[in-house]
Each structure stands twice: as C-alpha cells, then as structure tokens.
C-alpha cells in the first residue's frame, strides 16, 4: 500500500482501494460514457455536426411534403398541418428504427469487451436506445422550427410529450433486448429486421392517415404499437387534445409486453452469449 502511494507522488483524496462504484452507479456511469462516445463519434469530422440532427428530419419532411401534400389534403382535410403531421411521425418512427437497429447489433459489437470484463450485458442495448432518445431530443428543435414557421401554437398538452417518449423508449428497450439476444444466436435476425422495419414503415400511418385505409386495416392498426405512439405524439403536439384512452392504453401495454418479453429472453440467454460472439 505505502509503496504505491509513494510511487504515485502526493497523497490523494480517494485511495486506490476505493476507486470503484457500487454496481448500480457503475452502470449509470457506463451508460453515460457510452452515450457520449456514440454522440461524439456520430458528428466527429462533420462540418455541420449536431446541426444534422435537426436538418435530417427537416429535409426528409420537405421531400415527403412536396410529394404527398396535395394527395393527402384532398383525401383527408382533417389532417391539420401536413408538414408537422409528417415530421412528428417520421422522427418518432426513426427513433424506434435507430434504437432497435443499433441495439440489435450492440451485443455483437461489444464482443471483445464482453469476453474480458464482467459488465452487466444489458447496458449495451439500453445504451443504444438512450442514444436514440438523445438524438430525438435534437430533432425536437426541427419540430419546434416547423411549428414556429407554420404558427402552430404550443399548448400545455405538449407537456405530455415526454411521457410518450418515455413509453416509446421502454418499448424500444424491450425490443432491443430481444433482438440483441436473438441476433447473437442467429445473425439472420439482422437481415430479417431490416425487412420488418421496411414493412412496418408502410404499415404505420406516417405520411397517410388511417381514414384512407380499408376497415380491416384500421382494425389491424390497433395492434400496431407505433401507431399508438405516433398518435399520442400527434394528439399532444398537432391536434392539441388529450390522447384517447385507447391510445394511452395501447402505448402502455405495448411497452409492458415488449419489456417483459425482452427482459425474459435476454435474462434467459445472456449467459450463453459469450459462446456465440
């Protein structure tokens, strides 16, 4: 003990034996470090940097609005401000898309680390979802710009937005846990998921409204979790109403089911990960 103190020079406040966090706090610090790592990496060496998080949804919205504006307005005039309708749906959906895609690969990518250090494995998929939420927070700037431009008023209902995002994040955590575990054993899950996501994009009323769908499709939408999350967000931001009971229930139940399945599968198989990565 003494010798290492001497070697390190002056005496220090925290002794070398008390350098560690208790396990809970440790995970929080790891999550923070990993999220900040991803964030730094995403925008390193790009001139506009973080501005891309704002520009990306805006450009996407411009393109889609230009293409679908006329078509949608004649079909369903009750849609409200169409560009805002678009950007709210797109950003929420891409949060889910990014979070699950990155989360799915997170265990495979952390292979070399997991083989060496005992870390709670769930931090990797969870971290990717948190990173997705951070990115979403930046796209809120884009949403605010659109609302400002079209003079859509912001109401107290907007205070419910964090609730929607939190539920969506929980939903994504469950999905990511499941997908990351599954992809460790079967890499085809990664390819399969990209097909699922594409199908899901079209199955979700991102640029159209449910009113143009046939009846059986509308009934099916009730089983589409993303439909509920996006409706929740549009209710509070665009239409300025309280989300309906069905919507809230849809969000909560989807999150609960996803988390339950995700944690169950992850817990059950996480001990075997190391043999397959």
């Amino acid at each position: 003990m003494e010798s290492s103190e001497i070697a390190l020079g002056e005496s220090q406040a925290i002794s070398a034996r008390d350098a560690w966090y208790p396990s809970r706090l440790r995970d929080i610090f790891i999550l923070r470090q990993l999220v900040s790592k991803d964030f730094k990496l995403k925008y390193r060496r790009s001139v506009l940097g973080v501005a891309w998080s704002v520009l990306n949804p805006l450009l996407m919205m411009l393109v889609m609005a230009a293409v679908f504006s006329h078509f949608m307005r004649t079909n369903d005039p009750s849609i409200g401000n169409y560009p805002l309708y678009l950007i709210l749906g797109n950003t929420a959906f891409s949060l889910m898309n990014d979070a699950t895609n990155n989360g799915m690969r997170s265990i495979i990518d952390a292979a070399s680390l997991l083989k060496k250090v005992k870390i709670n494995r769930y931090v990797f998929p969870v971290q990717k979802v948190l990173f997705g939420v951070v990115n979403y927070a930046f796209s809120l700037v884009a949403i605010a710009l659109v609302m400002l431009f079209f003079r859509v008023p912001i109401t107290p209902y907007a205070l419910l937005l964090p609730v929607a995002i939190a539920l969506l994040a929980l939903f994504c955590i469950g999905l990511s846990l499941f997908l990351s575990a599954a992809s460790v054993f079967f890499r085809d899950v990664i390819h399969l998921w990209s097909v699922v996501i594409t199908a899901w994009t079209y199955a979700t009323p991102l640029f159209y409204t449910v009113s143009i769908l046939p009846d059986w499709m509308v009934r099916l939408e009730n089983f589409n979790p993303m439909y509920h999350y996006i409706t929740f967000i549009r209710d509070v931001m665009l239409w300025q109403t309280l989300p309906s009971m069905t919507t809230v229930l849809g969000c909560v139940v989807s999150a609960a089911i996803s988390l339950a399945i995700g944690t169950y599968v992850f817990k059950k198989f996480e001990r075997k990960f190391i043999l397959y990565i």
């Binding site: 290492s4 470090q33 730094k40 680390l113």
Partner: protein
C-alpha cells in the same frame, strides 16, 4: 517451498531456508540449512551459490574459498549480478553419508520495494478459489449460422454436438497478495480459465469463487474506440472497469504520466501504435489497487522500456501484499521472475501446480 529437491538420503528432513526468495541487487542473502531431530553437533557444511550455471564462472563455494568444510550453521553473501541463483548446501553429518539441500533465488536489478517479504502469505485467505472446474463446449458438428439451416437440421433431428472439454477438473487457490501464473502451450485452456475467473464465462462443472474487484487489461479494440482521443478513451475505459468518475479525474495526470502520453492526449487513438494503446490499458488497470489484477499477453506489445516499467509496477502491487496478480504469459522468464506459484495447464488438464521456479523448470523441459 522447494522441499522435494534434496538428494537422498535425507534422514533429518532437512531443507534450505533462505531469508528471501527474490531480492534486489545489493541485498545480502542468508542461507540456513534446517535440520530436524539433531542438535547439529559435528555437522560440517559446504555452501555453494551458482549464478547461471557452472560454466558461466559466476559461482562460489566455501570449500573452494577456505579449503575446508565449515561448521558455520549459516552463510551470508551478496549476489554480484542480477539473475537466477542456485543455492546449495552440501551437508556432512559426523557419521553418515553426505547430502545436499538446495533452493533457487532470483535477484533483480531494481525492485523499488526492495526485498519482497512473502512470509505469512500461506496464511492469507484465498481470493480466488477454483474447485474442480471443468469447461465443456458443445461444438456443433456443423455450424448453424442461419435460422434456415438450424431449423432444417432440427426437423431432420440432425442437431448433433461433439463434446469438447476445454478444461478438466482444475483446482487451485490463489491467496491475497500472491502472484500466480498460468502457463501452458497454445490452446491449452489458459484463456478459458482466465475468462472463468474474470466472471465472463460460467464453468460447466465445479465452482470458481472470486472475492473482490478485478482489473483486467483491456486490449486494443475492446474497450477502446479508435476514433476517440486518448483522453476520451481513458474515461471510457475507466467507466467500463467500474471506476468512479472523481477517481479518474483525480488520477488522470498519473495515468497520463505513467503511459507517457502527455503530448498526444487529444489525438485520436487510430494514430497511436498498438504499443501505446497497451500503455494506456496498463496505466488504467494499475492506477487502482484492485484485489485481483489480470495481466495477459497484451503486455508484450510494449517496448522493452515500458515492459520493464510495467514489471516494476506489477512488483510494486505484489509488494503491497494486497493485490493478487494473475499472470498469463508465454514469456516463461517473466512468469518465473514475477510469480510465487504457477499452475501449468496442458490440453485442459492440470499438469502441475506449485512453486513458480519448479513448475517453470518442468514446463521448460517440455520443449
């Protein structure tokens, strides 16, 4: 202890006691033969030390020096060079046959802490306790990388596995403050054992009980990100090892100084050589006093100056008698120099467990 090395006959259960097993150049070494069931009257001795073999010319015997056997019951000398010493005492009982007891000694050029006092280490509690650990891998005779192949095989009932025992009935204890080595040829199961101790792999059979904090050296590509700067990587790595942020803040300069990175702190890691990354890894892992420090091959990428520095730091940690060092290396000299005890694993089986010098000697004989 090297109790088994005497030549027969040894009617007095004699062994050679040396005041240190490892020491620094300049320290004096005292050899004392210990005899039981006799008061030692009439015994005469010839004390011998040999540094690196007779042919080397570095040896001394009291017989050659004084021309006769001595009655002194102990003998002190100062090793003139660093290296490995064979210490022998020829014992001449008054009415019996001559016999010899011997020990090995390692003398270091520089060892900050001087003589490492290892007395009492046998009484320390074990921090790593490996009991009859076996690791069985099910190797699929075919590899199913895709769902389709898997289900086809499942349907046809063709899912067959070959059992492969990577480790078979390994048992050892490592005590607090001990330096323990694992040796073995490639693919013998050292890494698997290390993974089980590190807690990332669960043993198929047996129990591996580890008490306390573990600090492994994280290699390039694991806890490091090449795009991030050294500064960012130090925090990232520290967090993965579970360090407190305040602790990293406080010791940041020490880490940088030890890794000799002062001028490159804000450079992305991809511009670093692998040796430099190994330095950071070592500096981060050893800035604390973990209960268990796991040192593996990663160390070998550093240059010789840094390797020496690392070795010194490991010696320091060992000398603190709080840190248990687990060393896995192909450099048998390093294992011999650093470790107290060594476990030799060969093809998954425990070939030998015991004093570092003995096991290393036997291991070297394999080649």
């Amino acid at each position: 202890m090297a109790l088994e090395e005497q030549s027969a006959p040894n009617p007095w259960g004699a062994y050679l006691d040396v005041n240190c097993k490892r020491c620094r150049l300049g320290d004096s070494v005292r050899m004392t033969p210990v005899l039981f069931h006799t008061d030692g009257a009439g015994f005469r001795y010839n004390y011998v030390w040999i540094n690196g073999g007779w042919s080397n010319g570095n040896w001394e015997t009291t017989l050659a020096k004084t021309g006769s056997y001595t009655t002194d019951t102990s003998y002190e000398f100062t090793p003139p060079h660093p290296g490995t010493y064979d210490l022998c005492v020829d014992i001449f009982p008054p009415d019996g046959v001559q016999f010899t007891v011997q020990r090995r000694l390692v003398v270091y050029e520089d060892l900050l802490s001087g003589k490492i006092d290892r007395t009492g280490i046998e009484d320390e509690e074990p921090v790593i306790s490996v009991r009859d650990v076996s690791m069985i891998f099910n190797i699929a005779s075919e590899r199913y990388g895709s769902l389709k192949e898997y289900f086809i095989a499942l349907m046809r009932n063709e899912l067959t596995f070959k059992e492969f025992r990577a480790l078979d009935g390994i048992s050892f204890d490592v005590r607090r403050g001990e330096a323990f080595g694992l040796v073995g040829t490639n693919g013998s199961g050292k890494s698997t054992m290390l993974k089980i101790i590190a807690g990332v792999l669960d043993a198929s059979e047996g129990v591996c009980d580890v008490k306390g904090t573990i600090a492994p050296l994280i290699e390039l590509g694991a806890g490091f990100d090449l795009e991030l700067t050294a500064r960012e990587n130090i925090y990232l790595n520290g967090s993965l090892l579970g360090y407190r942020k305040e602790f990293i803040d406080e010791r940041f300069d020490d880490i940088v100084a030890f890794a000799e990175l002062e001028n490159f702190l804000d450079m992305p890691l991809k511009n670093y050589s692998s040796g430099m990354v190994a330095r950071i890894a070592f500096a981060i892992a050893t800035i604390t006093e973990p209960d268990i420090l796991i040192v593996d091959e990663t160390l070998s990428v550093g240059d010789f100056l840094f390797q020496r520095k690392c070795e010194r730091r490991i010696q320091e940690l060992i000398a603190s008698n709080n840190v248990t060092v687990l060393l896995v290396s192909h450099s048998i000299d390093l294992v011999e120099r650093i470790c107290d005890r060594v476990c030799w694993i060969e093809k998954g089986e425990q070939r030998m467990l015991g004093d570092a010098l003995e096991v290393c000697e036997a291991y070297k004989a394999l080649q």
